[in-house]
């Protein structure tokens, strides 16, 4: 099912479009999504921008995904460890599953996520490709 309202995704444009993140003001640990508390116990974070460079720490291939991503199937999804330390789960595109390895260097790209049916909003965000 596609959500009819575009508002929920609109709220995350900052994170999804631009890879904005959060850095613990005490220990420097970085997070893609805002946390209530850092692993060090600190409650304060500063905002930061990630470089978009990272490496794959785990990945798989999806053959039968949710309706919104069916047009892309089969597609790869991985956990990316960004250069700054934070981890993000994202699609890895412009590659074949067979070509990926744990440790493959990747870079962020701006791509279409999905269309909300024939009449709805087109959603965009960050995916990753093997580094050129």
């Amino acid at each position: 099912m596609f959500r009819k309202s575009p508002i929920i995704r609109w709220r995350s444009y900052g994170d999804r479009y631009k890879l904005h993140g959060h850095k613990c003001t005490k220990c420097g640990t970085t997070y893609f999504e805002k946390k209530g508390m850092c692993i060090c116990g600190n409650l304060e974070f500063s905002e930061m921008d990630f470089s978009g460079e990272g490496k794959i720490i785990s990945f798989t291939q999806i053959h039968s995904g949710p309706e919104s991503f069916s047009e892309m199937a089969p597609y790869c999804v991985g956990i990316i460890e960004l250069k700054e330390g934070a981890k993000i789960t994202a699609q890895i595109v412009d590659c074949k599953y067979e070509d990926l390895k744990i440790g493959t260097e990747v870079e962020a790209v701006f791509r279409k996520f999905y269309k909300s049916g024939e009449k709805g909003i087109i959603h965009y965000g960050t995916k990753f490709i093997p580094k050129l």
């Binding site: 444009y13 479009y17 631009k18 921008d49 047009e71 892309m72 699609q91 595109v93 412009d94 790209v109 701006f110 791509r111 279409k112 996520f113 087109i122 965009y124 995916k127 050129l132």
Partner: protein, 346 residues
């Protein structure tokens, strides 16, 4: 006048060869290759469109410079394949580039010259000091009806130019003018998926009249000769038309070849002539003069004269992917795979 402060190119990874399309169209591939002067074309990824291509090209342009991106006062995206009929591509691009909210923005459309026209708009805004920097972008995921001759050439890609003060320019804009008339050579009506064209009429009274007209006018206006230019770029609907214009003006192979990207990636429509310009900026030396004439069906041509400055050396050394990097990165598709990709652009 204003100048180009930075530039960026983007071409999708996927390709389809003339042979692969000719198999489906029951045509002779050698005859097509000879007739069009190209061997393959770029194809967008299933998750790529004019907005994503524009962002990629513009990010490359911004990577090459260290300007404060909040000083960008205008963004224009020219295309004939904007993802929405109503909702701007440019606001998606501005958001992804993180330039804030204090900029003016518009999508433009004038067939294949929708991108080059935005260079003129931003140059005017910079010269009038209404803005400090403006981003001019041309990008397309070109449509071609299956079975139509356009299918061999209609491709995907885009280029972006950061326009700004002359003293910061990697290439000064020395002159620009346009040549326009109401010529019905190529069009796409509202709600139609594919463009239509007037066959041979797209040649003499359309492409050639306007490209030659604009080029002749700018040479006369600036009192320059073709031999004054190191590089010359004419819009590239195929590999043959720009070479015919080159012959008319006595342009040498050395002047035209570096920007003749159509042979490798097809016609990227709004990205076509300006990707020719990015090819040239990637290799130009200070003092090199560059002539570019675009063409948009319907019809019009924008002609430009640029001169590369000393600043282009540092800009070329920046760790940014060149047009050639994208040309070399490729994965070939079969026709059924190509069809699946093209289904996603509508």
């Amino acid at each position: 006048m204003a100048g180009i402060v930075s530039w960026g190119a983007y071409i999708p990874k996927y390709r389809i060869t003339v042979e692969e399309i000719a198999k489906v169209q029951h045509a002779n591939p050698n005859s097509i290759k000879n007739g069009l002067g190209l061997v393959e074309k770029s194809v967008p990824g299933k998750d790529e469109d004019t907005a994503t291509i524009s962002v990629s090209a513009a990010r490359n342009a911004l990577l090459r410079t260290n300007i404060n991106r909040k000083e960008i006062g205008a963004i224009y995206v020219g295309s004939e394949s904007h993802p929405y009929a109503v909702k701007p591509t440019v606001s998606i691009v501005g958001e992804a580039l993180d330039i804030g909210n204090n900029y003016t923005a518009l999508d433009t459309q004038f067939a294949c010259k929708a991108g080059s026209g935005t260079i003129q708009i931003n140059a005017g805004l910079v010269d009038s000091k209404m803005i400090k920097y403006g981003l001019s972008i041309g990008a397309d995921t070109s449509q071609a009806e299956p079975g139509n001759a356009l299918e061999y050439s209609a491709s995907a890609g885009g280029a972006a130019f950061l326009m700004g003060p002359n003293e910061e320019a990697v290439a000064t804009l020395d002159a620009t003018l346009s040549f326009t008339s109401d010529t019905p050579d190529f069009w796409r009506r509202a709600l139609q998926s594919y463009p239509a064209h007037a066959g041979r009429f797209t040649g003499e009274p359309a492409y050639f009249k306007h490209v030659v007209g604009a080029t002749k006018n700018i040479l006369e206006k600036t009192n320059t000769k073709i031999s004054d230019f190191k590089y010359v770029v004419f819009h590239m609907p195929n590999g043959k038309f720009p070479l015919r214009v080159a012959k008319i003006f006595g342009v040498t192979k050395e002047q035209i070849e570096p920007g003749l990207i159509v042979k490798k990636i097809g016609n990227t429509y709004s990205g076509s002539s300006i990707l020719g310009l990015t090819c040239v900026l990637d290799i130009a030396k200070p003092g090199d003069k560059i002539l570019v004439t675009s063409y948009g069906s319907g019809s019009g041509s924008d002609a430009f004269i640029f001169t590369a400055t000393e600043k282009i050396i540092a800009a070329q050394k920046a760790k940014v992917k060149t047009t050639e990097d994208y040309v070399k990165r490729k994965e070939y598709l079969t026709y059924p795979e190509y069809e699946a990709h093209m289904e996603q652009i509508h």
